[in-house]
């Protein structure tokens, strides 16, 4: 990887209250501009905690995080303006229409007037939702909701987009559409940090992945290189299972 990292994580540690074990143990990581970076791991590995800290939802217990040269402890508002977040849950207001939801979230990013209006219409059109824009979200199918959920995170054209399992529970068509769209915005320079349990999806989409387990990064690299380095495994899923084991996680 060349150039300065857009995200620098150094010795990041996070303890939750009443937990003796840290959720993240002294993790250091660089993510570079225009990467699609996959954060993979079984349940409880620490990936959601890592992303939550990067988005400013939790304060780190120890360590530093710099995003686009801004320190997360001191420049959170500036950081929030350049990141987009697509949570795993459908973070939308069900009784509002797609248009109303997106207008509200756009306003929260400081967008307004024709700039916002045009952007919403463009996104709705691209995502095939322009005809249902004035319908309440609770009348949408799961795939449609996922698409609106995604639009809400990238309305303001963020430099960095965080996606937490964006393709969970949707049909193949919607999934392919979302992945294609992510590739397309990545080509325009958006850095994408993505978590998923779908190894095949991550292998195809991500430029680099980190496999986390029990708060540590246990593998880091390009998916193809990771597979190549371990010739006994044919794909990322096999490596993942080899590294994290087959025992069930809580």
């Amino acid at each position: 990887m060349s150039g300065n990292p857009i995200i620098e994580i150094r010795e990041l540690t996070k303890f939750y209250r009443r937990n003796d074990e840290p959720a993240i143990k002294s993790v250091s990581l660089d993510i570079f501009p225009s990467e699609i970076f996959g954060l993979l791991g079984p349940n409880g590995a620490g990936k959601t905690t890592t992303i939550s800290i990067l988005c400013g939802l939790f304060a780190p217990t120890r360590g530093t995080v710099t995003i686009d040269g801004l320190d997360i402890r001191h420049n959170l508002d500036e950081i929030k303006s350049i990141i987009g977040v697509v949570p795993q849950d459908l973070a939308l207001y069900p009784t509002l229409t797609a248009l109303e939801n997106l207008t509200f979230f756009g306003n929260m990013y400081g967008m307004r007037g024709s700039e916002l209006k045009d952007r919403i219409h463009k996104c709705l059109e691209e995502f095939g939702l322009e005809k249902v824009a004035r319908k309440q979200i609770n009348s949408y199918s799961g795939g449609m909701k996922r698409r609106v959920n995604l639009i809400a995170g990238l309305l303001h054209k963020p430099k960095i987009l965080f996606l937490d399992e964006p393709t969970v529970g949707i049909d193949v068509q919607s999934r392919i559409f979302i992945l294609d769209y992510l590739n397309a915005i990545n080509e325009t320079g958006t850095t994408i940090i993505y978590t998923s349990h779908y190894m095949e999806e991550a292998e195809n989409l991500c430029t680099r992945v980190a496999i986390m387990d029990r708060g540590n990064i246990i593998a880091l690299g390009k998916p193809k290189e990771l597979v190549k380095e371990r010739s006994e495994f044919t794909n990322l899923e096999n490596i993942f299972l080899h590294l994290t084991g087959k025992s069930l996680r809580d």
Binding site: A59, R73, Y93
Partner: protein
């Protein structure tokens, strides 16, 4: 500012689209006002009401005391005196059984010859007094033994409250004292006439020396007697306003549980600004709700033959107090919604805490009936400050200056609640602003 306005629009839209929720928010408090006012109006108040409370009355005396008590009960407009059951004259056993079964709340038995006994005792007392002046009547003193006190028996249903019981007993005692006093004067005059043949007793032997006038002092020049609507409507308006914390915290918890809060926390917007937009929407709801409750008191209550609410002349004070009560309620809701971790926790804690604060605040039991300790505790309830503010306006005709203590306390409560919510959030995540 436009982020705040956008939050306000979003919140208002969500609320307006919840038709069932709106019905509950606006119609239920109106129903509450009507029911509670009618219960109070026709259940306890003696004002402008037909005789409703049936009292079994057995007068075995058939003389002055029995007649006076019976007459007094009938004249009070509060009791319907019943002296026979199923066409048969009452008996003491019958009264006891009827009250025991709960068919009647009160039964009064005036014992046989009680007036005769009082009269004899009075004559003896008078004779003893006259003997002190050398007007000794040996026959009177030697032939009349000093009798024991007679017993008027009053049967009460166990559900009758102590205060009500005391007022009944006080009324009976009052009739008794009056009868005794009249007898003292009469006997005294009779004995004096025997000793001094030229003595002519006055035509009116006894008359009340003191009469009682009820005055409700207020800041208004014109004296007005507060009616039950002026007691009930403000009290239940305060209760309903504080109960708004249930839908308010519910809206906060839904936002948290459905994930939109998480998204908002990742956006460059002050969380408190968003919460304030929510507070503003619910402030309007509170205001509309209270206005509807006042209008219910003014125009709907009279349709049920209840006294209509008179708003009075302190409209500005009324508006300001309503706004600060709503702010206090919403501040409390904000605090509960911030600290609670689940929807159920917020809803149950919110509801129970409001009922406790209402009980402590004098909404269910008037403060003057509380012990000193409880009065002190009641003074700590925001619902008490709210109620005091309204009562000052409705019952005492107070203006803004006079209700300032209530306004100040409620505003302070709002500010403290907001501060606690803010610090709690910062404590949970030092990155929060």
């Amino acid at each position: 500012m436009f982020k705040f306005l956008s939050g306000f629009r979003k919140e208002a839209r969500i609320l307006l689209r919840d038709k069932a929720g709106l019905t509950i928010l606006f119609v239920m408090p109106m129903v509450l006002i009507i029911i509670m006012s009618l219960l109070q109006e026709f259940g306890y108040s003696a004002v402008s009401r037909e005789t409703t409370l049936k009292v079994l009355f057995l007068d075995k005396d058939q003389d002055t005391l029995g007649i006076q008590i019976g007459k007094g009960l009938r004249k009070s407009n509060f009791f319907e005196v019943i002296d026979s059951l199923n066409g048969k004259p009452l008996t003491e056993k019958g009264i006891r059984e009827a009250v025991k079964k709960g068919d009647y709340l009160i039964g009064i038995v005036i014992p046989e010859k009680v007036t005769r006994s009082i009269r004899a005792n009075v004559r003896l007392q008078v004779a003893k007094t006259l003997a002190g002046f050398g007007l000794y009547n040996p026959m009177l003193i030697s032939t009349i033994p000093m009798g024991d006190a007679d017993t008027v028996t009053v049967y009460f249903d166990p559900t009758v409250k102590k205060t009500f019981k005391n007022s009944i007993l006080s009324a009976i005692k009052e009739y008794n004292y009056k009868v005794e006093t009249e007898m003292v004067f009469r006997t005294f005059n009779q004995e004096m006439a025997k000793v001094f043949p030229n003595f002519t007793p006055p035509k009116q032997e006894y008359k009340d020396m003191v009469v009682f006038k009820e005055i409700f002092p207020s800041y208004k020049e014109k004296e007005e007697i507060p009616d039950s609507a002026q007691h009930n409507v403000p009290a239940w308006s305060v209760f309903a306003m504080f109960f708004i914390i249930i839908p308010f915290t519910s809206s906060m918890m839904i936002e948290r549980e459905e994930g939109s809060l998480l998204r908002l926390q990742c956006m460059p917007v002050s969380f408190m600004k968003l919460l304030m937009s929510k507070v503003c929407v619910y402030l309007i709801v509170c205001f509309v709700q209270t206005t509807l409750m006042m209008l219910t008191g003014m125009y709907l209550l009279p349709l049920f033959h209840a006294v209509p609410l008179a708003l009075g002349h302190q409209i500005l004070a009324l508006v300001v107090v309503t706004i600060v009560i709503a702010l206090a309620a919403l501040g409390f809701g904000l605090m509960v919604g911030t600290i609670a971790t689940t929807h159920q926790q917020a809803a149950s804690f919110g509801a129970v805490s409001i009922i406790i604060m209402a009980a402590l605040g004098g909404l269910f039991v008037p403060m003057y009936l509380m012990t000193d300790t409880m009065k002190f505790v009641a003074g700590l309830s925001p619902l008490n400050w709210a109620l005091t503010g309204y009562y000052d306006i409705f019952l005492r005709g107070s203006g803004l200056v006079e209700v300032f203590p209530s306004i100040f306390k409620l505003l302070l409560f709002f500010i403290i609640s907001i501060a606690i919510s803010f610090f709690y959030r910062t404590l949970k995540n030092p990155l929060n602003k």
